[in-house]
């Protein structure tokens, strides 16, 4: 198995699915010509390999998503790229009131087999360009929401998302594109809606996903040196959300923490904490802690940005505090 980047893993998933199914198309802003293919180069070269099936669109996210929905209704399987998740706000009505609702509202007559791919997160791009919105998307009935943390998961989940008959919002943290991991050459799929234990430990359950998994794994190393072993659950799919592993884990560790990059209020961490305390209340020796992004429109300045977004040291600090009962 070769080590490849997260970006390359995604591209392979796209290429394999484009090859497998002539109904798969990719549309988005600047995915063809710009820099050879895509603001984050995920689609680089694909337009040449699949003439007519990878196309640049106007800047009009409401149309990118809406035209994608219509094509999906008609049996095409569009993958639409929103250049960053921030621009999904322009298409929010199409995502929430159209893509997510049509199957149920029309009593099953219409299907929307579409994938919306979008980079999320920060990178010195200030308030309007540094957001996540994972919790909003994951609260919408009718949507599926995926956010992988590793190249392996990225490839397997993206392929599954493309073959899924429902609208899937596929979130790619932009800080992950350059990360590397082993990805087999042979084909595999990872089913949506299944969380995974990424590290075994007996002291503290950490529920996380996306970039924060990487930070959590770094933190786990540090903490292990101090005798604190994290049990790390990667949600992978945010809707439907699989908390079965997390619940089992808490029954063993009796302590839980949720680590997320986005705003704390009404975040996925809130849901995980609320659900865990509902379900395994009697197993909890301490309140469930949340590490989350600070609720500030993201500032451009390096030091302020750094202070706003959680990193591994935040996870370390929070875990230490929990294990010494400083809550």
């Amino acid at each position: 198995m070769a080590e490849i980047t997260f970006r390359e893993a995604l591209k392979r998933a796209l290429r394999e699915e484009l090859t497998r199914d002539p109904d798969v198309v990719i549309w988005g802003e600047d995915i063809v010509a710009y820099g050879g293919g895509g603001a984050y180069a995920v689609t680089a070269g694909l337009a040449k390999e699949f003439p007519g099936r990878v196309r640049d669109t106007p800047i009009a996210e409401e149309a990118i998503v809406g035209v994608g929905i219509g094509a999906a209704m008609g049996g095409v399987r569009p993958i639409v790229e929103l250049m960053t998740i921030n621009f999904a706000l322009v298409a929010w009505d199409q995502i929430v009131n159209h893509a997510a609702k049509l199957h149920h509202m029309f009593n099953g007559q219409i299907k929307v087999p579409m994938v919306m791919r979008s980079p999320a997160g920060f990178g010195r791009t200030a308030a309007t360009h540094s957001q996540n919105f994972d919790s909003w998307l994951a609260s919408v009935p009718g949507l599926k929401v995926v956010e992988p943390a590793t190249p392996y998961d990225a490839k397997g989940l993206l392929k599954a998302a493309i073959r899924d008959d429902d609208p899937v919002f596929f979130i790619e943290h932009l800080q992950l594109y350059g990360t590397r991991g082993e990805v087999p050459d042979t084909e595999y799929l990872i089913p949506l809606g299944v969380s995974e234990r990424k590290r075994e430990g007996r002291h503290l359950t950490v529920v996380t996903w996306g970039r924060m998994l990487v930070e959590t794994m770094k933190a786990a190393k540090v903490l292990s040196g101090e005798g604190i072993e994290l049990d790390v659950i990667d949600l992978r799919t945010l809707r439907p959300m699989d908390l079965s592993l997390a619940m089992q884990s808490v029954k063993r560790t009796n302590r839980a923490m949720v680590v997320e990059e986005g705003w704390r209020s009404m975040g996925i961490g809130a849901e995980v904490a609320a659900t865990l305390q509902e379900q395994v209340f009697n197993y909890l020796d301490a309140p469930i802690a949340r590490v989350a992004g600070l609720e500030v429109p993201m500032p451009y300045a390096k030091n302020l940005e750094r202070a706003t977004v959680p990193f591994s040291d935040d996870v370390v600090a929070a875990a230490r505090a929990m294990m010494t009962n400083q809550y």
Binding site: I69, G70, F106, L192, T275
Partner: protein, 346 residues
Amino acid sequence: MEMNKDELISLYRQMLLIRTFEDKSAEMYAKAKIAGFLHLYNGQEAIAVGALSALHSDDELVTHYRDHGYALARGIDSRFVMAELYGRETGTTGGRGGSMHIASVEKHFWGGYAIVGGHLPLAVGLAYANVHHNTGRIVLCVLGDGSTNIGTFHAALNWAQLWHLPVIFLVENNMWAMGTAISIHSSVIEIYKKAAAHEMYAERVDGKDVLAVHDAVCKLAERARSGEGPSLLEAVTYRYRGHSMADSDVQRSKEEINEQKQRDPLTMYLTNVLLKRNLLTDEQESQIHHEVEAEVDEAVAFADASAEPALDTLYDKIYAQPVANMQIDGSLIRPAALYTGNGTHG
């Protein structure tokens, strides 16, 4: 398309069915058999009937919420439409969508949509799908004058023109958007001129003249089918009733409404075409009336006799491909009764 006598008579029958169905719906709404929003089509019948008669039965149709007329003109059983207005399991969407979301994908009617302008990009995408699959089918996308000011309108037109897709945007200009007169909501009164921003072919037609609408759509459909791309048709019309049954309609003057009723699409067609050309006798006309009334009465009887959707189907069809074996899932699996208690009351 030249139409034969039967076809010409059928246009009248369809318009009459719509008018009668809408009047009956209003009645049933007053009796609280129907709830929520109910947008009636009285006065605009010539557009749906004229337009759909110009298309193939498998051309794709997408409309806004004022959709009963299109459903009936597309040949959807009036019983199923009425049952949907009632919210019954026999309705066109099993009671899920109600009045604003009538659909029959089998009949290539992809549904009525309730977010102003929201369905325009969908229609463009559907046109793409037909090109992609080389079906030869074109798309008719229906909207109102008030819906030409929202962002998706121009975003969709630009895309359709850029990709040269076979879609006809049919704007029913009834001069009002709810209670807002066109001069208050749009900088341009002649809606067809808006297509100029995309160098899209556009025309304006008398939306009360069923044959004029038919002819205009024939021409634009021909264009679309022969690869000449999208177009916009503005059909000038008027609705006789308020925006929806919730509208007291104090904003429009009685004079304006009465004046508009002078040019009634049904009467004009009956008098100026069918009777004048001797295509129909008075007797035949009253025969049609009886048939149509009987059909609508039966639709009501059917809806009344139909059951509400079963409560245990509430979670069905949220996903086309549900994820199996979720142990805890606020999103897919009904939370334990403890936390909601729902579904049993009421």
